[in-house]
Amino acid sequence: MSSPTSTPVGSKPSSDGLASPPSQRRRGQDSSNGDLPAMPTSPATDIASPAVHDTSLFSSPRRSVLPSEVDMSSPLIGVRGTPVRQRPDLGSARKAPQVDLHTELPSADGAVASEQAAGQKLVIWGTDVNVGTCKEKFQRFLQRFIDPTSNEDENAGLDLNEPLYMQKLEEISVIGDPVLNVNCSHVQSFDADLYRQLISYPQEVIPTFDMAVNELFFERFPDSILEHQIQVRPYNALKTRNMRSLNPEDIDQMITISGMVIRTSQLIPEMQEAFFQCQVCAFSTRVEVDRGRIAEPAVCRNCNTTHSLALIHNRSAFSDKQMIKVQESPDDMPAGQTPHTTIVYAHNDLVDKVQPGDRINITGIYRAVPMRENPRQSTVKSVYKTHIDVIHFRKTDEKRLHGLDEDSDQKLFTEERVQTLKELAAKPDVYERLSSALAPSIYEQEDIKKGILLQLFGGTRKDFSQTGRGNFRAEVNILLCGDPGTSKSQLLQYVFNLVPRGQYTSGKGSSAVGLTAYVMKDPETKQLVLQTGALVLSDNGICCIDEFDKMSDSTRSVLHEVMEQQTISIAKAGIICQLNARTSVLAAANPVESQWNPKKTTIENIQLPHTLLSRFDLIFLMLDPQDEAYDRRLAHHLVALYYQSEEQIEEEFLDMAVLKDYIAYARTYINPRLNEEASQALIEAYVDMRKIGSGRGMVSAYPRQLESLIRLAEAHAKVRFSDKVETVDVEEAKRLHREALKQSATDPRTGFVDISILTTGMSATARKRKEEVAQALKKMIQSRGKTPAMKYQQLFDDLRGQSKAAITKDMFEEALRALADEDYLTVTGKTVRLL
């Protein structure tokens, strides 16, 4: 035991005080003073010197005469023996006010809180909380609060026009989970003063709330049987958002911070109540832990033997506790600094609620505890240890696994910010402005920048799962191909830095596993853990893949699923699952021959399977335009980079932060839908596209292209902050789509745009030519009459001699294969046999 009695009395006051930070101290003193009336044994001198009182021999028996269960339940009407569960999250200092309340209110409070308002305004010592009013206010809040605009998932299935929390109480009576989560912003909008009290004095106010809710609950549902009494868990305190902004003023206040769990400890049993037994007379007594310490009774009250009491572990009461380390989430941090960490203690059923890697919002009470004094040393470290006692956890990324997460990105925009964004959106040239703000160090390539801009905004999410089609892809995928050194990588880097959930990988270095997910065995727990790869990590973001062409086929094959279905299926080591990967892919590929060959089609140049290519909405070529005016502008742009000062550039372009916010805002709040004209325009556009090709017997558009058009139009509407997709949007989508097609799907032989280059990998003319060669060959063989076998080389030479156009060996072989497919002939080695 720490046995405080063994230390000299002189240093005693500090030893007791050390267990609590200064701000908590008021309540510590309050506890002693508040107890006075209930404790006739304690001498009157105690009031004069509370320090002596704390170490007095009476201190422990005094506490032990107040078994908490009886005390705390007694004032509650109609509890019917539902046991109270201790709330270690509120700290042990809560004892003081509790005792105050239980003993006759006027006398207890009156002793300290001065009868200023004639018993009317009794407050808990050190605070301005009047228990009665507080309780009443909270009950009123529960009974009356209605939030018709609520869209929280917790409130799903509740009638929004009825008092919200009464419905929740009903839920508790049905389900039997005695926890009531209360959104602090609701409290604030209902009663700002109550909210202020809750934030400032959580450890007094929350027990009051507990009482209030239990009274209300058992009044309404007298027959309910709960495991223990209902506990109120407030969350979403607006006090603090960022770990970095915590400061000494926040100590002992309720705060909400966001962060990421990096480590969780094993379960720690924490003693709540120590059980002592006298070795002489077997008299037993219980001592509650007070601020982490147990005051060992020095004298047995029964037989008056000194130092005869021994602790019986088996009969002491323990509660669960877990230490969790939380680290600042990377988005909240200023550049160039390392993330801060905070220690968090979870108690009872909050233990093991979170795992390392989870992103969570924590609501709790911020504590500071001085370093323990070492009795052997006269000096002590002047540092406090800080931690947070959790009241409520809220995972921010939990919903990513199952549904849309409109609020996981709930970035709070200030009024002014929203105003500036809206002003910007109202400008007629906002689209151009934004696209030129994108990667200003990269010169021109305006259409590509526009395309990427639309990708950043994305289309509107649509759910067709009821009609069996599942989710519709809303993400725009873009492929950039072009000569090396045309700043493709730079563009990718820029995008990766711009979006909050971006991933950057290089095709050369990544494997299928690195992109999707893999299963790992945790070396400590032997538990299988699913580790997510780049694509899953960039869910709701953009996955930038450089050197797309260098990727191995097996790796690329996983992209098929991602790029249309937006999921990743995993069947590995006994884990079968489907993860969401609603990511946009921005890929860059180099031509196979290191230089783009304008005589070849896109497919031939980059050698990617057409199945994959057709999944890109836009395919851009980044080529060197090789014209003088362009060169001049380029030179000017580059030289300017090297001498303009930092400020000049700031003026010229939109700030990256504004752009970021603009995108985040549009993505969160704007969900445009097609209006009538726009749908008509889209239909026309699609019909037009199909018409272009049909004249020449080619198909120039597939439904996939229509979908792309819709997505692009929606994204463009988002850029304008418009809730409706209008004709202008469709026009721009059409233009951009055509522009991209013109670049990538032009048949180099004919000069026409031919979508089948992308969809089947071969242009219609090429297919036609193949057919012709086969026919010519067939004719030639037929003209020879009955020759069952021919020399391969001879046939090739003959065909070349006969044909007007040049015939390559490839073409000849293709023709042979085509004829073999017709069962007209077979090729065996160097001879060709007719069948």
Partner: protein, 625 residues
């Protein structure tokens, strides 16, 4: 004068006096900072402050003012401490207000129930000596220090006085503090080590380092690490900043938690004890005798780490710069001649090496770092030539590191810093370097073989460093990008596998029979004063401002358009980027702060020469990509 040195010897006395006068008016804190800043502003006064870098820790007096030249390696969580507290005097029973700022421990008998207690916040930085600091820079810093330090273990007031009087006499002369210590513990070996400057833990590296890793970025580094307590301007400091910190040294043995036996019953009940793992305690509360605490009073960011240059932008500096600018061209010529010799008579390579040595990332345009100039010297002769070359570079720049890229090192070395969540600290890696450090990558050491996954990661990290001048620190659950400013020089046989801004194949004009001897002779032929001039030159050229006039801009644009007209393939945007950097560095190397038409032509010319050389190389080898 001795009395005026109280601010160095007893800074806490000064602080406390000011606190006592203040009557708990919070303004006293600003006053303290003003006072120390004012003292340090005085001419040469900062050289009176002993430096942790050159004086062994046990010669420094606890609670005296010391300075420390360091790199911020890690930033720990903020901590709350008792800013003001009350103690009860045991004899008089009177309450006394005391100040807890700049101290680690409180006086005895703290009254925690006092209403006057003020909780304040401070942050701890883990600082290490600047990694890769060249021996000449260390030595030169040591020489310029005028602080006289007496072993604290045997300090007697009278002795102290005497030593100050001595100081008075020799004010003007820089002194070595090495000479006469009275050694309380005098075995020969330890004496030698102590006089060799860096701190005490080097005396017994074998037994200390085994259980206490001081977390230096580079292997084989020595010197004291320090926990710096920062009180003001927390946001102005960034990881990897190089600072000269003036602060109060605290080595109170109370701080040593290690080895302190713990009462298990207390452990169970006291929540604060159990939440730290032993690793974490070791990292955050190492013994004060090894890792002293420093309470920061004033920190000066180091623009450069060259002791030969006046520090901080003051009037002297601008005077110094303008006087040096006159000589600039001649020093450049000498340096070029020297480098030409070193590079076996290859003048072009020497020119490029010179440009590389003064390159500097001067700004970033969104993701693009501007001004970096990574040089790939290909065709280096084997057999320790590169090693000798590095030694010569090391002689010229204040900070440098040679990374021998052998298969083994690439697979086993940690280049990228990684967060260790168990110990809750950032485990350093070789790429955690101060700005303007010269990183010498020796690819000639690389042999054929298998790179494992960590090897691939290391190569990727090097590639990222070269292309984007950033290092992605590994925070296990995510990565965090830290921009850097490191001059990378790659020496290789063929073209390097790493990207580079510019490749120069070395064309030796001489083939000395004995390379070692050849290079040593060249090196020995230089006078120290000459070398010092080179050092100043390289550091100075980097700091000059630079601009391009509209007229020249126009000319450059025209030129570019013309070049493209002839053959669009010959010049790409990337080439223009490089030529603009070359032009910039070339102008600066001549001390010109604007680009002249001439300068541009020269830049074009040498780039042309270089390119024809690479073409030639390509056609020779044929199979190079």
């Amino acid at each position: 004068m001795p009395s005026s040195h109280d601010w160095i010897n007893k800074p806490l006395g000064v602080v406390e006096a000011m606190f006592a006068q203040s009557n708990s008016n919070p303004e006293w804190e600003a006053k303290v900072l003003e006072y120390f800043k004012g003292q340090l502003k005085e001419k040469e006064s900062h050289s009176w402050v002993p430096s942790l870098n050159d004086v062994p820790l046990h010669y420094l007096k606890p609670n005296s003012l010391v300075k420390f030249r360091c790199l911020v390696q890690d930033m720990f969580d903020p901590e709350f401490y008792m800013g003001v507290y009350e103690t009860v005097d045991p004899s008089t029973k009177a309450n006394v207000l005391r100040c807890g700022k700049y101290k680690d421990v409180t006086e005895c008998g703290v009254d925690l129930n006092s209403r006057n207690t003020v909780t304040a916040e401070r942050q701890t930085f883990y600082c290490v000596p600047i990694p890769g600091e060249s021996p000449w820079a260390k030595e030169s810093y040591g020489c310029s220090s005028q602080a006289r330090v007496v072993p604290s273990t045997s300090y007697v007031p009278s002795r102290q006085k005497r030593s100050y009087e001595e100081d008075d006499d020799m004010d003007t002369q820089p002194q070595k503090q090495r000479e006469p210590h009275t050694e309380p513990h005098g075995n020969g070996d330890s004496k030698r080590q102590e006089t060799e400057a860096p701190s005490s833990q080097t005396t017994a590296p074998s037994d200390c380092s085994s259980h206490l890793d001081l977390n230096f970025p580079l292997p084989g580094e020595r010197g004291p690490a320090c926990l710096v307590k920062v009180y003001e301007g927390l946001d102005s400091f960034k990881l990897n900043d190089t600072l000269e910190i003036y602060g109060i040294l605290s080595v109170n043995p109370v701080l040593t938690v290690l080895g302190e036996e713990k009462d298990p019953s207390l452990l169970l009940l006291n929540p604060t004890e159990s939440m730290e793992t032993p690793e974490e305690q070791r990292a955050h509360d190492p013994p004060a005798s090894l890792v002293p605490r420093l309470h920061m009073l004033y920190a000066r960011p180091l623009q450069h780490n060259n002791p030969l240059l006046p520090s901080a932008p003051t009037e002297d500096q601008s005077a110094f710069v303008s006087s040096f600018l006159v000589e600039m061209a001649s020093v450049r010529a000498e340096l070029l001649a020297y480098l030409t010799h070193v590079l076996l008579g290859d003048g072009l390579a020497a020119e490029y090496l010179l440009l590389h040595l003064i390159s500097n990332v001067y700004t970033r345009r969104d993701v693009l770092p501007l001004g970096k100039f990574t040089l790939n010297l290909s065709g280096c002769p084997l057999n320790s030539y590169t090693e000798r070359l590095y030694q010569i570079v090391q002689q010229l720049v204040p900070c440098s590191y040679r990374l021998s890229m052998s298969l083994h090192t690439m697979n086993s070395m940690r280049l990228v810093p990684k967060k260790d969540y168990v110990a809750n600290r950032l485990v350093s890696g070789a790429l955690q370097l101060a700005r303007n450090t010269s990183l010498f990558l020796d690819e000639t050491q690389l042999e054929q073989g298998q790179l494992d996954s960590s090897g691939v990661r290391n190569i990727t990290a090097l590639g990222n460093l070269i292309s984007w001048q950033k290092v992605d620190y590994d925070f296990s659950y995510h990565q965090m990008e830290f921009p850097c400013n490191i001059n990378v020089l790659v020496t290789s046989e063929g073209r390097s596998l790493l990207p580079s801004d510019c490749q120069v194949p070395l064309q030796p004009q001489v083939t000395p029979p004995n390379m070692e001897e050849y290079l040593t002779t060249i090196h020995m032929a230089q006078f120290t004063s000459q070398i010092n001039k080179f050092r100043v030159y390289l550091s100075l050229a980097r700091t000059l401002d630079y601009s391009i006039s509209d007229e020249v801009t126009k000319a450059v644009e025209d030129d570019f358009v013309d070049m493209r007209k002839d053959d669009p393939q010959s010049v790409t945007a990337e080439d223009l980027h490089r030529m603009l950097v070359v032009a910039r560095l070339l102008s600066l190397s001549l001390g010109q702060t604007t680009l002249s038409r001439d300068g541009w032509m020269r830049a074009k010319h040498i780039d042309m020469l270089r390119r024809s050389r690479t073409e030639q190389q390509k056609s020779l080898n044929g199979n190079e990509p």
